[in-house]
Amino acid sequence: MSSSTREEVLRHLQSVGFVQPALHKQTQAPYPDEVDHTLYRAYTRSVHDVGGEADVPIRYEEKEEEQWELNTFATCECLAWRGVWNAEERRRRQNVDIGQTAYLGLPYYGRWLLTAARIMVDKQYVTLTELVNKIDEVKKRHEH
């Protein structure tokens, strides 16, 4: 491994460590007998069901919309308009299946976008290879 690759790998692992959910426990993946009913219920809830959770006051802000955010909204709506997904599966994928870390860690439309990519792969409209190649192609197009 070249030293620049090693550095990149270490940086990635560090970032991943940083976004691990705080379980306030020494061991992750505990023994089965360590999960009681209360804990089980907490882990199996839907992550988007946040009503009533404790939080501190923050400064509420307005936000200017990015062009890609509007495009993402339109893409998701067009996928629905033309029957690729319905509102129920779309919500479950965007809000629940994505998992707590990504749910809280990604921007609002970032979740939408990832989910739009996944539905196309999961329903076999595109292969994962096609998606990866397209991403590479778009990246190259925007390299200076």
Partner: protein
């Protein structure tokens, strides 16, 4: 956090991972015929037509016409037609918008009852009549706290309600969307529909503010600027 996390802020001309993925997904969807480029353009144009104006007009009309007010409270979808919003047959799909369904409820405030709207599960919002939701409405913070500490949260928005005013929080969902019809404020006698509509701001319609003569815009809040903001007039 290690020093490695302190990456410099992206340059203005740098393309983000989200932008790359957005282009890739849209282009693939069009290439595979899942929808057309024209569909996407039409939808984007439709979004540009949305905003809080129809909902403000609905409230102003209701303040002036008790019969219409009654229609608003009993059948919000029917009442929306008078302000140009057809929830059931609207373009661009002609079967309503895929993610807004068609069940608008208009919540009538009284001097002793204040409504305020949230969506605890996501960000459900009456888009066809009120436009896109503000960023703060989508935050986990607002969604977590409003249902449990409504009086405090409203105070943070600058709305301090007397203790004899009851607060009712409406939790939107995939099918049911809400707008608040606030109490018509004093000092508006003899005002026209246009004048009244001007003081019914988006924040009033969500319920985090109440209309006041002379106040025609939302409370000033910090604005997080976009790196590549939406260009109005042409889609992408």
């Amino acid at each position: 956090m290690s020093e490695h996390h302190h990456e410099p802020a992206p340059m203005v001309d740098e393309v983000s991972d989200f932008e790359i993925l957005e282009m890739a997904v849209r282009e693939l969807a069009i290439e595979k015929g899942l929808f057309s480029a024209e569909d996407h353009r039409i939808w984007t144009e439709y979004v540009h037509t949305l905003g809080p104006t129809p909902a403000a007009r609905l409230v102003a009309k209701a303040w002036l016409d008790p019969e219409y007010k009654n229609l608003c409270v009993t059948d919000g979808v029917e009442a929306s037609k008078a302000v140009g919003v057809d929830w059931i047959n609207s373009p661009p799909t002609h079967f309503g918008t895929p993610s807004d369904y068609c069940n608008l409820r208009v919540l009538e405030d009284t001097p002793t009852l204040k409504h305020v709207v949230v969506c605890t599960l996501c960000s459900c919002y009456p888009r066809p009549i009120l436009g896109q939701s503000p960023e703060w409405y989508r935050t986990p913070n607002y969604r977590r706290r409003l249902v449990r500490w409504p009086r405090q949260v409203l105070a943070e928005f600058g709305l301090q309600l007397p203790s004899d005013v009851q607060i009712r929080v409406a939790d939107s969902n995939q099918k049911t969307r809400y707008i608040v019809m606030p109490v018509r404020p004093a000092g508006t006698d003899g005002w026209s529909e246009d004048q009244l509509a001007e003081i019914v701001t988006r924040d009033c319609l969500i319920g985090v503010a109440v209309p006041k003569p002379g106040v025609t815009s939302n409370t000033m809040r910090p604005i997080h600027k976009a790196v590549h903001p939406v260009e109005h007039g042409h889609g992408h």
